[in-house]
């Protein structure tokens, strides 16, 4: 197809397009046109507020903008409630995230096999996502209340009843709730990733007599590494958000084993202590960035050869 230019010479549509889109600055404007709205949203609703939070963390008060240096950070770091929240949050993350990754991968591998009712099982594991959080909490209360179903069950074996949410087992209850809520979604992500592993590679491994473990470690796991990274990041973020469930179960001041960073920040917000809230938020953000950066490094090391 030919186009006539202003000087009367004809050019092909593809060469015309090339010129149009490769004009200096136009590329940038075009991409800005597409990404601009999204970027503006992120800027207005995430980056700008976070910049304000960082600013607050260095000032004495919202209206008293006296620079206080690291005073707010020092207050927060030395606060025993913050230290407890930090310990609990990391304890929970360290327990829940690996379990969320490993168990969802295990389920995905299981459902990859030929088995009866595969589709129904998939729906079964995915269904907790659709259950409203308030209903989930109601069920958990019925199960784990001191006069609840679990205690009735263990009483059959002569075990004394346990106030699950106010005992040393409280974190276990929340880990179970977290896994129940998140395994299904993670599992779907792994199933999609497993489907993308080149079949030829697996067939070649079969021909060469590779064992199932060998195939899993050297082929599947390496192809799954970007998904493992993604699921891990998602699970870490979700683990920091488990406050919602704990808050609904036990309020502003739960048993000290369930007191999370979000409790500290939420209570600071409620008592309008924006400076300490901001300092805690910045510390949390830095830790998150550090963990995610570390995960990227690990993933780069183990998965770069299959990403091309």
């Amino acid at each position: 197809m030919k186009l006539i230019n202003k000087k009367g010479s004809s050019v092909s549509r593809s060469s015309h397009n090339k010129k149009l889109f490769h004009k200096p600055g136009r590329d940038f404007l075009t991409s800005l046109g597409f990404t601009g709205p999204g970027f503006a949203g992120v800027l207005i609703f995430f980056i700008a507020p976070f910049a304000v939070v960082v600013y607050y963390s260095f000032t004495r008060g919202v209206l008293d903008h006296t620079f206080t240096g690291m005073q707010n950070y020092s207050n927060v770091v030395h606060n025993s409630a913050f230290q407890l929240a930090m310990r609990n949050t990391f304890k929970f993350t360290i327990a829940a995230v690996p379990l969320a990754v490993v168990l969802s991968l295990f389920l995905a591998l299981l459902l990859e096999q030929k088995m009866f009712g595969k589709s129904q099982w998939r729906t079964f594991f995915l269904s907790p996502i659709m259950v409203p959080i308030a209903s989930t909490i109601l069920v958990w209360q019925v199960l784990f209340h001191s006069g609840g179903v679990i205690n009735d069950f263990i009483a059959i074996f002569g075990v004394d009843k346990i106030d699950w949410l106010k005992s040393e087992y409280c974190l276990v209850v929340i880990v179970i709730l977290f896994l129940w809520k998140n395994l299904g979604y993670n599992m779907i992500l792994f199933m999609a990733a497993l489907n993308n592993i080149p079949k030829t590679l697996l067939e070649a491994a079969d021909v060469e007599g590779a064992s199932a473990i060998h195939k899993f470690v050297h082929i599947k796991l390496r192809y799954l590494s970007p998904t493992i990274l993604f699921v891990a990041i998602l699970s870490i973020i979700n683990s920091f958000k488990v406050f919602r469930e704990i808050y609904l179960l036990s309020g502003d001041y739960p048993y000290d084993g369930l007191y999370m960073l979000q409790h500290f920040m939420n209570n600071m917000f409620r008592t309008l202590d924006y400076q300490r809230l901001s300092a805690a938020a910045v510390i949390l953000a830095l830790i998150m960035i550090g963990i995610i950066a570390l995960l990227f490094v690990v993933e780069n090391k183990f998965g770069k050869d299959i990403e091309g």
Partner: protein
């Protein structure tokens, strides 16, 4: 016969209406007249009656339909009475139709519009609220027209006021003068002046959770005499609405956290320990020690020592009351009211004897112990709590033995002093706000009273309620000027003229004791009783002047004070939440104490 008479400014009678036809049996509380000469009369018992210009009753609204008893006139022919909406969130002015005696037009008012009156200029109507006058313009939000305090006038003393056509205000004020014990009446004419002519003073912001009359009066006197500083009062109770009385405190906390810290705080109902732990308050001992007139020895030092935290005094008060528990010495003995002692006594109680009165419920006991023992339970400076101590566990078990709620169906009033004397009750809570409280109790108990303290973890606790207290914040820019104001509370002059409750100035306290000890002898040489105590069964007990023995006993009580009563709603919510399971028998006292310790510890640590 009763008349409504109208005079001109020379005092000549213009009109006289015979209002006898209205036939009021009770007090006429409010009278208004419309432009047609109809007279509207209202009384609590008699309802509203409208009389024509000749004094004949033309309309009537019975008392049961009449809403409030005070009439409001917001226009020449718009006279009505206010009423609340069903949910008490709004008020309505119900305009009276003088022809039919029914309510016609209804005008919606803000919920705080109690005294409504005719507007001036652009204002449809104005209303008075909390020392200020607000005006309402059609289609707009109401706005503040006048704050009496800005003109150095105590709104509580303003009896009547009106806006003149030129915008000036004429007011009638009646002020009680403590020194002369007489009211001083004055007519005030307020006219506008050029802002440039007003002497500019540095402002000192004083915050309170309610409009305290004494502090307001003190601030007005300070403003009238200081040529450099001016106290500006900020009453946070104005932010309470829809039945939520915590909004004022929330607002104050918001402002404090955002850096808008007031210079002086009226300490009643404020979380003072928390503010002190946040470093918000200055140590007033430094100012007392520097003061040229007041020293520690001029004050009831033990009371101030108890009010201090780690040797730092964060508030001063002009007066105090004591709270303890009392018993019959012959029956109880001299033991302190520790939870352990109470538990032991309760075991051996005869069937007909109760430990406390009917008001003492489980929650009441726990709350009382927490408020009175706060110093033992919580260390706000280190953030440590001690709710898991064996004494606290014992207290929970002890509290459980009390009824869940008061049995009002079988309640019958009985004089508690009598019950203590006859051994039917072992203890009762006792407040001593004045020497008269003390000697009345002594007379009623025939000198057998023993103060054993309110139930406490390791011993009975004798606490104080500080009266109006003031604190200076660390961010106050003019601390010396703020102290000039705050110190007034401690002066002899101030406390001599504010004679209620027990004074904190030692000289004033000694004078009070001297006065209580002064015996009056009648013409026949007999002692004259200072007052009488009635025990509810027609027995009249004469109360005579205080004896030296009683003075010593009162001083022992004052010197045994070891706690300041403190309230903390958030802490109470956590504790109440945990107590439900315990009182319902779901968990043990040890477990409950452990849970309380865990949760309250978090709360206290956060405040650090």
């Amino acid at each position: 016969m009763s008349y409504l008479r109208q005079f001109d400014k020379e005092g000549n009678e213009l009109k006289s209406i015979d209002t006898s036809a209205a036939g009021f049996e009770g007090t006429v509380e409010s009278i208004e007249m419309d432009s047609k000469g109809n007279v509207y009369m209202s009384g609590w018992e008699d309802g509203i009656k409208v009389l024509d210009p000749d004094g004949n009753v033309k309309a009537e609204i019975p008392a049961e339909d009449r809403r409030d008893s005070s009439l409001s006139k917001i226009g020449p022919d718009k006279i009505g009475v206010t009423s609340y909406s069903e949910d008490y969130t709004n008020r309505t002015l119900n305009i009276i139709d003088p022809e039919t005696g029914s309510f016609g037009e209804k005008i919606e008012l803000p919920s705080n519009a109690y005294t409504v009156f005719q507007g001036f200029g652009d204002y449809d109507y104005c209303y008075y609220y909390n020392g200020k006058i607000y005006g309402h313009k059609n289609g707009a939000e109401e706005e503040k027209v006048l704050d009496w305090f800005d003109y150095d006038i105590n709104s509580e003393n303003v009896m009547k006021y009106t806006f003149l056509d030129n915008g000036n205000i004429i007011a009638y004020s009646s002020e009680w003068d403590e020194s002369s014990q007489e009211s001083v009446d004055s007519i005030i004419l307020m006219n506008s002046v050029d802002a440039a002519d007003v002497v500019q003073k540095e402002e000192i912001v004083l915050a309170s959770l309610y409009g305290d009359y004494q502090v307001k009066d003190l601030a007005l006197k300070f403003n009238r005499t200081s040529d450099k500083y001016r106290i500006v009062m900020k009453d946070y109770s104005e932010f309470n609405k829809d039945g939520d009385y915590s909004l004022g405190l929330t607002k104050l906390n918001t402002e404090i956290i955002s850096g808008q810290v007031p210079d002086i705080l009226v300490t009643s109902e404020l979380p003072m320990q928390m503010y002190a732990a946040k470093g918000l308050l200055v140590d007033l001992w430094d100012y007392i020690d520097k003061d040229s007139e007041i020293s520690r020895s001029d004050l009831m030092e033990h009371i101030f020592d108890v009010m201090s935290t780690d040797g730092k005094l964060y508030q001063v008060a002009s007066n105090f009351g004591i709270i303890s528990a009392k018993a019959n010495k012959d029956i109880w003995g001299e033991e302190t009211a520790s939870i352990h002692n109470l538990t032991e006594k309760a075991k051996d109680l005869p069937e007909e004897t109760k430990l406390f009165n009917e008001y003492m419920t489980r929650d009441e006991i726990v709350n009382f112990v927490i408020y009175m023992n706060m110093g033992e339970l919580v260390d706000w400076n280190t953030g440590e709590c001690h709710f898991d101590s064996p004494e606290f566990v014992e207290m929970l078990e002890f509290a459980k033995s009390f009824p869940e709620e008061v049995d009002w169906d079988n309640y019958e009033y009985k004089d508690e002093n009598n019950l203590l004397l006859t051994g039917k009750q072992l203890l009762t809570l006792a407040s001593v706000y004045d020497t008269s409280d003390f000697i009345q109790s002594e007379a009623a108990m025939g000198g057998k009273t023993v103060y054993v303290g309110t139930p406490g973890l390791s011993k009975g606790i004798t606490g104080i309620y500080p009266g109006t207290g003031l604190a200076i914040t660390t961010s106050c820019k003019n601390k010396d000027a703020a102290w000039e104001f705050v110190r007034t509370l401690l002066t002899e002059d101030y406390q001599k003229n504010n004679t209620w409750s027990l004074p904190t100035n030692k000289n004033v306290f000694d004078d009070k004791i001297k006065e209580a000890m002064t015996e009056e002898i009648d013409a026949d040489g007999n002692r004259v009783a200072k007052s009488f105590y009635y025990d509810g069964s027609d027995n009249e007990i004469a109360v005579y002047a205080m004896t030296q023995e009683q003075v010593d006993k009162l001083m022992d009580l004052i010197n045994s004070v070891d706690s300041v009563i403190e309230f903390d709603n958030s802490m109470q919510d956590i504790i109440s939440d945990e107590l439900n399971g315990f009182f319902n028998g779901e968990i043990s006292a040890e477990e409950t104490a452990k849970h309380i310790q865990s949760r309250v510890n978090l709360y206290v640590s956060e405040q650090k």
